[in-house]
């Protein structure tokens, strides 16, 4: 193998690489930093390969999307220019493959001047002031301008906006005045998400990033996942800012403002306060939320556990209908429904499979519905005065919260869905240094911290939580008898598509809570439960294709889909930047938090059992729970 490697010298350092490696990649291997604005670590060939690596299609690398020329490395920003000995002019290192031994310099006066010229030219078409930009402080263009000493407007600056900022009604807000045409958003949307909502319209100096027919994001086939926002080097893509509305509610003495916090933001919000990725700040955040003025702080883990009971019961009941009653209206495999990006994706692209979606609402919506009914009743609060806020790692949750059907209680389940970034800003505005705060537990009656809820934040987490519960309910045995410490490792990891099997060798009696759904579990004895997982909707496409072709995934009973790479921890509302290492660190934080909790199974969450005793008395998937905790979907074009 060694003979095939080529030796390149970069800044005097020798590095051996496989032929075809770009100079940029080789420099990274050698630990030499070359600045980039259009290249992103998630969009290099290695990351793309890993993103689509998976169990059922092992080794399948080039899928149809890569045929598209618009998705090849654009080398559009020209910031990564380097000198190559013996070659005239400077070369973009991201687009310079190594085929012969070469000597490269990544820094020289010519390179530094060229980079500064390029930045100054970018600024000549960049309208907007840094102080008034959501990315002030996290902007890659701003940072490079500072690094390379851009101190004047040598080529001028636009004094009028060149484009209108399309804000109203959009969750993904695009401000093309700040766009540098790097095309990271276009490539992310296509290669990781398979959505292709964005493209390059026009040519040359008329090019701009646009949707089909230049529609606004709300009218495009966008799924609001926000992955484009996390990759945008500037402030051209941001989420709708709901913080003013939340501050307003907090300061209204007439309103009771309650917030629920999802698991994924806790593992990431520290990054906005200088912590290493993967620093969980769950309980410090509770202190901060109280200090900011929220009346109650609840744990979305509660409703995640509630979701598992509803979704798990739905699965058992579907299996019973399909396998025993031979009722062909019970669509299998059942698909999870907690990722609102995935929901909009299937509504747009695979509407035929809407019956396969679990009708269970997502944890965010379940919590909202419970707050304005059960909780309000129990505490004598007027539901019309409750403002229900959620902290989510997600931009699509804003869309989900606003879906017109999410108001079965007579009130909106969730009034405002904040992203991790928005809440981080609120803390900063309140002068809070999050990592330094004391810890505060969650408020009752939804305060039991459970591991099964926490792992919802990582890809495979919903499946693991569901398996822990379904296995124990059906067999009457502890899941630890099959998996050490109840860690169902086969469903963990970052492969794009994964499958796992679980054999049910013995069955127990039907617990009372499910007695209205099935008479016994005898029909499940000796059965093998097959589950699948996909994260990043481009992998969802691969699962759907496999199902359509009758492949192994069509034989699954239950499939978890997460719109974002890595699951919620890689969500579009999480702190910027993101890459595989950061996501892996967040996943580690989530799984280690799970391991520390006493209650790690949804059906053992005392708060959940109590709500079935006191409120949803007929049990999961009953009339009342259907009214408040379940929903429906619609086809979109």
């Amino acid at each position: 193998m060694d003979s095939e490697l080529i030796t390149v010298t970069i800044d005097g350092k020798e590095v051996k690489v496989i032929p075809g490696t770009t100079v940029l990649e080789a420099a990274r291997t050698a630990g030499i930093h070359i600045p980039t604005l259009c290249h992103h670590d998630d969009l290099c060939s290695e990351a793309l390969y890993q993103q689509t690596a998976s169990t059922p299609h092992q080794g399948e690398h080039s899928h149809q999307h890569e045929e598209s020329a618009m998705l090849s490395t654009p080398s559009s920003c020209r910031i990564c220019l380097v000198e190559v000995e013996g070659l005239p002019k400077l070369h973009a290192s991201c687009a310079l493959p190594i085929h012969n031994a070469m000597t490269v310099r990544t820094t020289s006066t010519a390179i530094r001047h060229a980079r500064r010229d390029i930045l100054e030219l970018m600024m000549s078409e960049h309208y907007g002031d840094c102080f008034a930009c959501a990315r002030n402080g996290t902007c890659e263009l701003q940072k490079l301008c500072a690094d390379y000493g851009v101190t004047s407007e040598r080529f001028g600056r636009p004094h009028e906006p060149l484009f209108e900022k399309a804000e109203i009604g959009n969750i993904i807000v695009r401000d093309q005045n700040k766009c540098i045409l790097c095309r990271r958003c276009v490539r992310m949307c296509a290669l990781y998400q398979g959505v292709y909502a964005l493209t390059t319209e026009g040519r040359g100096d008329h090019s701009r990033i646009a949707t089909f027919m230049g529609k606004e994001m709300k009218d495009a086939t966008c799924i609001n996942c926000g992955q484009c926002i996390n990759r945008c080097p500037t402030g051209a893509l941001t989420e709708r800012d709901d913080t003013d509305a939340v501050w307003h509610a907090i300061e209204d003495p007439d309103k009771m403002v309650v917030i629920q916090t999802a698991p994924a933001p806790r593992a990431a919000i520290g990054e906005m306060f200088g912590c290493e990725p993967g620093t969980p700040l769950t309980f410090q955040m509770n202190t901060a939320l109280k200090r900011v003025g929220f009346d109650k702080v609840f744990d979305t883990n509660f409703s995640a556990d509630l979701t598992i009971l509803e979704e798990g019961s739905e699965l058992i009941s579907r299996l019973y209908k399909a396998l025993v009653l031979k009722d062909n209206t019970a669509a299998l495999p059942q698909f999870t429904s907690c990722s609102p990006g995935w929901i909009k994706f299937i509504e747009h692209f695979y509407p035929k499979y809407l019956p396969n979606l679990s009708s269970a609402k997502s944890p965010q919506q379940m919590m909202g519905a419970v707050l304005k009914t059960y909780f309000a009743e129990k505490n004598g609060w007027d539901p019309s005065k409750i403002v229900s806020v959620s902290l989510m790692p997600c931009t699509a949750k804003k869309f989900e919260a606003a879906r017109p059907e999410m108001d079965a209680s007579g009130y909106r389940d969730v009034d405002y869905a904040l992203t991790t970034r928005e809440l981080g800003r609120m803390f900063k505005q309140a002068g809070i240094e999050l990592p330094k705060l004391d810890k505060t537990p969650f408020d009752d009656p939804f305060g039991t911290p459970t591991g099964s809820g926490v792992i919802f934040g990582a890809t495979g987490g919903v499946m693991e939580a569901a398996l822990r519960t379904v296995f124990e309910i059906v067999t009457g045995e502890k899941v630890e008898s099959v998996f050490d410490h109840a860690d169902i490792k086969p469903v963990r990891g970052f492969d794009g598509v994964r499958m796992a099997e679980l054999t049910i060798s013995k069955v127990g009696p039907v617990p009372e809570i499910l007695s209205h759904l099935v008479p016994d579990f005898e029909w499940l004895k000796g059965a093998t439960l097959r589950v699948g997982l996909a994260h990043g909707t481009v992998n969802a496409i691969r699962v759907m294709k496999d199902i359509e072709e009758g492949g192994p995934l069509s034989q699954c009973h239950f499939i978890e889909f997460m719109a974002c790479p890595g699951g919620c921890l890689g969500g579009g509302g999480q702190p910027i930047p993101t890459d595989r290492e950061i996501r892996a660190a967040r996943a580690k934080a989530i799984y280690s938090e799970d391991a520390t909790y006493v209650v790690r199974k949804s059906h053992e969450n005392e708060d959940v059992l109590r709500i079935y005793r006191e409120f949803f008395k007929e049990g999961p998937c009953s009339h009342k729970s259907h009214e408040l905790l379940h929903t429906h979907y619609k086809e979109r074009v």
């Binding site: 618009m70 292709y196 964005l198 493209t199 319209e201 026009g202 646009a210 089909f212 086939t221």
Partner: protein, 166 residues
């Protein structure tokens, strides 16, 4: 058949000619552009479905090439050469003035009867015979004020004859 269905049938016919592959995208768009003078939103959606190419990508291709348009244009698209060798010819400005005057529209506009659109083009290779313009895919050379008016009349007659034939 409604308009959408007609377009889908038309695209299916083009797919039979050019194939159901990504590489058929360009020839299909060219044929649609030729037949309708532009590629409508519905046409792009039909192509997207037929070839399984994302609609945004079809749009990206359709907006990349200046001979394609995604906005309605006249039956005859007039492209005046704006390259210097044409523009330096003595008859250039009077000829263009006659074009604007005869049609009552400006650059980039379409006549109200939907017959003519005036656009500009870069060099069309007629430098030795300028001023030149293209009407759809036919070049017209050595333009003068008088020849422009008679060329327009020819196209008007052709359109009228085509209408009668229908």
């Amino acid at each position: 058949m409604d308009a959408q269905q007609t377009l889908r049938t038309e695209v299916e016919q083009l797919v039979r000619v050019h194939g159901r592959t990504r590489t058929a995208l360009m020839p299909i768009l060219q044929d649609l552009n030729r037949a309708h003078s532009y590629i409508s939103e519905d046409a792009m959606l039909a192509v997207s479905d037929a070839l399984n190419v994302p609609r945004a990508e079809v749009y990206g291709v359709a907006t990349f090439y200046s001979y394609f348009s995604v906005k309605p244009r006249g039956t005859y698209v007039i492209r005046i050469c704006r390259t210097i060798s044409c523009a330096k010819q003595g008859d250039y400005h009077p000829a263009i003035a006659a074009l604007f005057d005869e049609l009552g529209i400006g650059m980039g506009e379409t006549t109200s009867d939907g017959m003519f659109t005036i656009e500009q083009t870069n060099c069309i290779g007629m430098c030795d015979q300028g001023p030149a313009m293209m009407v759809n895919e036919i070049p017209h050379i050595k333009l003068t004020e008088a020849s422009v008016r008679s060329i327009l009349n020819e196209y008007r007659h052709a359109a009228l004859a085509a209408k009668k034939a229908q």
